[in-house]
């Protein structure tokens, strides 16, 4: 949990820094106003466009036969949640399973994973009507091998 918080704080710090840089370059040539008002404008701008999601994970991985969110996934999803609250948009969560086990059971497992991500986002305050969950089971692997490295890439939820 401490690690998660640290990661989050670090990420927000980077985001804040990036936002600051962007607006600074915009403001310099045109704005003769006092410094205090300038800060207020910056904040409004960030709220309008939502946080910068560049580099934030959109694929979240799971352990075999599990639908428990890992700490990396929770950290990234908190950023997504903030972005979705700031500027709501419809998203699609696509759940997937590795090839082991039966196909229809894996459909259910993929859905369970997509639901775990949905529930986490809703707990963070995202409106549930923005979220559609779909399971592809084992039907759409990203890695085709029959080994743990392929399987671990295929047990995933993709946020789209």
């Amino acid at each position: 949990m401490t690690n998660t918080l640290k990661t989050l704080l670090a990420l927000f710090a980077v985001l804040g820094f990036l936002a600051g840089c962007a607006s600074t370059t915009e403001e310099i040539p045109t704005d003769p106003e006092p410094e205090v008002e300038e800060v207020v404008e910056e904040v409004e701008e960030v709220v309008d466009t939502g946080p910068d999601l560049t580099g934030v994970d959109t694929v979240f991985y799971f352990d075999y036969d599990k639908s428990l969110l890992k700490s990396e996934a929770r950290a990234a999803l908190m950023i997504h949640a903030e972005a979705l609250k700031a500027s709501p948009r419809s998203i699609r969560l696509e759940g997937h399973a590795d090839e082991r086990g039966t196909r229809e059971y894996n459909m259910a497992l993929g859905e369970r994973r997509a639901n775990a991500v949905r529930d986490f986002l809703v707990l963070q305050g995202v409106d549930s009507y923005l979220i559609e969950t779909i399971s592809y089971g084992e039907e759409r692997p990203v890695a085709v091998g029959s080994d743990e490295s392929s399987w671990s890439q295929n047990r995933r939820v993709e946020l789209k």
């Binding site: 090839e99 082991r100 086990g101 039966t102 196909r103 229809e104 059971y105 459909m107 259910a108 497992l109 859905e111 369970r112 969950t133 779909i134 399971s135 592809y136 089971g137 039907e139 759409r140 085709v144 091998g145 029959s146």
Partner: protein, 429 residues
């Protein structure tokens, strides 16, 4: 019987494949299969497009119960009873001899064939069937069915069909295919192709329709596909899972899994009225899936992880009473009942590896039938003698078959993509 041969299904909008036929490789046979001489048929047999006696020979070989005598060892090729020298065939070790003669009739081919018991020097049966040039393979499988029944006492399933899903692993509008073929893999027809996944094909018992799951709407949905007209009907469009369709024995109802109420539960839909009845009632996050009807249409067996890991259960539709059927191992799923209802087959995990297992329902005794890797989707032949399943071979998805006593095994390798999810058709009547 002849009428049945002529009643070959006419499928609309069907493309014939030439390069993707499945080829049978026998991987294990009985220790002592019955030697039979399938003598090359006379008349037009060698000149028509399909060599009927070769097809019969391959059918009988594939059953694992027969060892056809090599043609090169035969001392003669009789086509009439009077030309059979039983002593010659007895020396070759043949217990039975099949002879036949194909002639051109007024509007179709006429095939006469006779089966003899070599040791008793006795005719077992003699028959005549007719069919057009399109029906030569059907005629061959009919001969195989007759021979199989006469010798084993079990109805042959050589005339039945299979469905399977193929993934050619190249993105595009024809990536995923639903394929229909003869039980020996010949005469493949693509029923439906899509850029999106296709799953869980299921035969209607009338053989006129199939159901499957297609993702073509960007969500999983159950479709009914009429094989005679080519017409497709979307049966379900619920939020969440729409899967595992299974026709009731009278084809009036469809069992399925839906997660519209939160978690995957078993439902039964009346196909004509689309009225839904929820069958299972578990608490949130439990998975109930993969329903399969009992022959009386009064119960479903299905997989559920309500006990902590996937096991097979049976639910009575009238009372809703649920009974657990499997207790061995930590993963049992995708159950299918044998035609006599006395046993079931399933996907069973042992030491982390997935195999097909058979279980006697009354005693609970379980037997693992396969030793291959990532085995799934068992589908039992309508005569209960063998089952088809999907497995991996040389890193490709292939179909394989195993007899219910595990004594006979063969593989049907695909020449192009990955094949999976075989569904063996019921008998045609």
């Amino acid at each position: 019987m002849i009428k049945r041969l002529l009643l070959v299904l006419i499928t609309a909008c069907v493309c014939q494949l030439t390069h993707a036929e499945l080829v049978i490789e026998i991987t294990k046979g009985l220790d002592r299969p019955t030697p039979i001489a399938v003598v090359p048929f006379g008349g037009l047999n060698a000149t028509v497009q399909e060599n009927i006696s070769d097809i019969v020979s391959a059918d009988l070989l594939r059953s694992g119960l027969f060892r056809p005598i090599e043609k090169r060892d035969m001392l003669g090729t009789p086509t009439k009873e009077a030309d059979i020298y039983f002593r010659d065939w007895r020396i070759l070790g043949a217990e039975f001899i099949l002879i036949g003669d194909l002639q051109e009739g007024t509007s179709s081919y006429v095939l006469e064939y006779q089966l003899f018991d070599v040791l008793q020097q006795r005719k077992i049966f003699g028959k005549t069937i007719t069919g057009s040039s399109r029906h030569l393979r059907d005629m061959a499988h009919k001969v195989s069915d007759d021979v199989y029944l006469a010798i084993t006492g079990i109805r042959g399933a050589f005339s039945t069909k299979i469905l399977y899903v193929e993934d050619v692993l190249r993105p595009g509008p024809n990536r995923y295919r639903l394929v229909k073929a003869d039980a020996d893999g010949a005469r493949e027809q693509i029923l439906f192709a899509s850029s999106e996944p296709i799953m869980s094909p299921a035969w209607a018992n009338d053989l006129k329709r199939v159901a499957y799951v297609s993702f073509e709407t960007s969500r999983p949905a159950i479709f009914i596909h009429n094989l005679e007209t080519g017409e497709r009907t979307q049966l379900t469009n619920f939020k969440g899972l729409n899967g595992a369709p299974a026709w009731s024995p009278d084809d009036k109802r469809m069992a399925m899994v839906l997660s519209k109420d939160g978690n995957p539960e078993i439902y039964v839909m009346d196909i004509a009225t689309r009225k839904l009845t929820r069958v299972t009632h578990t608490y949130s996050s439990v998975i109930d899936t993969e329903p399969n009807w009992t022959a009386d249409g009064k119960s479903l067996i299905f997989a559920s992880d309500r006990g902590g890991n996937p096991q097979i259960y049976q639910v009575a539709l009238a009372s809703g009473r649920v009974e657990r059927l499997t207790f061995e191992g930590g993963y049992n799923a995708r159950p299918r009942l044998s035609p006599d209802g006395k046993s079931l087959v399933m996907v069973h995990r042992e030491n982390g590896v997935f195999h097909i297992a058979w279980q006697d329902i009354a005693s609970g005794d379980m037997r693992i039938l396969t030793e291959t890797w990532l085995d799934e989707s068992p589908s039992i032949a309508p005569n209960g003698a063998m089952l088809l399943y999907a497995t991996q071979h040389n890193k490709k998805g292939v179909l394989a078959a195993v007899s219910m006593d595990a004594g006979v095994k063969f593989r049907l390798p695909s020449k192009q993509g990955n094949v999976r999810e075989p569904a063996w058709s019921p008998f045609a009547d």
